[in-house]
Symmetry: C2
Subunit: 197 residues, 2 copies
């Protein structure tokens, strides 16, 4: 066996470069040459890792998706000390990106969402991520609602959809500068409070 290269780590390395570029100039501004330059590898290396540009983009989307999902799932793990509702609030807040160090990921995410509308390959990955997120939210809301004994219980699925859509919409509005992160947080907090407090 001759020279061997760790393709997996290189693909990740390139995916990160893709995200940096997508953040700076949008998805349209991502070219193979620029990706190679940003990742400090030759164009040939990029081409060997991904047969086509779209394959590269899909991989990058999956990468960013995993990053974000992981971050949210961390918040969703209900620590003994906190209620399910609190965990949900944290998770939703995480989505609405109060922290600016995660703003870049969200910009990339938004770019991919827009692209997914016209690209089947991207749409598939995107939907899978959203479905998983909705599932997790549904479970936690159901859990939180059992703690609260109320006359008419919530419909967990519907509330999960609401929360997810709201968080997503807030994210978008923060990204384009229509809302400040603080305002988004305020909206989210009030919404959560209307459910349980």
């Amino acid at each position: 066996m001759p020279k061997q290269v760790d393709h997996t780590s290189r693909r990740l390395h390139i995916a990160r470069a893709v995200c940096h570029l997508a953040d700076e100039r949008g998805l349209e501004g991502v070219t193979l040459r620029d990706v190679a330059a940003k990742a400090q590898v030759s164009m040939g290396a990029v081409q060997r890792c991904f047969r086509t540009k779209e394959e590269m983009l899909v991989f990058a989307l999956e990468y960013v998706g995993e990053l974000i999902m992981e971050r949210i799932q961390t918040r969703l793990v209900r620590s003994p000390a906190q209620s399910a509702g609190t965990a949900l609030g944290h998770a939703a807040t995480e989505i609405s990106l109060l922290r600016k160090e995660h703003r870049a990921e969200a910009r990339v995410w938004l770019a991919f969402v827009a692209q997914a509308v016209v690209s089947k390959a991207l749409a598939k990955t995107l939907k899978a991520n959203y479905a998983a997120l909705q599932e997790a939210f549904t479970r936690l809301i159901s859990e939180a609602d059992e703690d609260t004994h109320r006359a008419v219980p919530l419909d967990p699925r519907r509330e999960a959809r609401t929360l997810l859509a709201l968080a997503d919409g807030l994210t978008t509005h923060v990204l384009i500068g229509q809302l400040t992160p603080r305002e988004a947080h305020d909206v989210l907090h009030t919404h959560m409070a209307s459910l349980w407090d």
Copy 2:
């Protein structure tokens, strides 16, 4: 004076072609040549109407923005027979595009939103539209809340932000197929009900 041409109507005609293409293939797939072909005019005509491609895109965004805003504003006009809350519900539903004949506009809108994150010219127009919408929502919510005498009145601005973000998020989720229009409507209806019914 020699031959004269109605530039305004031609610009609108071209803007419609831009929207059709953006709907079909995304914003990236919009080229001057294709726009000219779709609009059934020569490339030269397009170039005379718009000095650069970006100028054309900005104009198209404004056009689509006006279309959508007009449609929503129509719903927001409170007819004597209906409560302010009902009007709001209709308007929000309109945003969440139950009707598939307006799906195309929303796709174009989403494409522009994603692009606006990296383009200042687009962002300016976009924010102006959102601000106007939020203003209208705020006013109507305030109105609706005065009708309902409750102990703790709502914060109209915050509720407007909530409603707008929720409607926007739902729109996105419908567009990528994560939700059906029916589910989106259900979510929106329940949210409105939690405010006033």
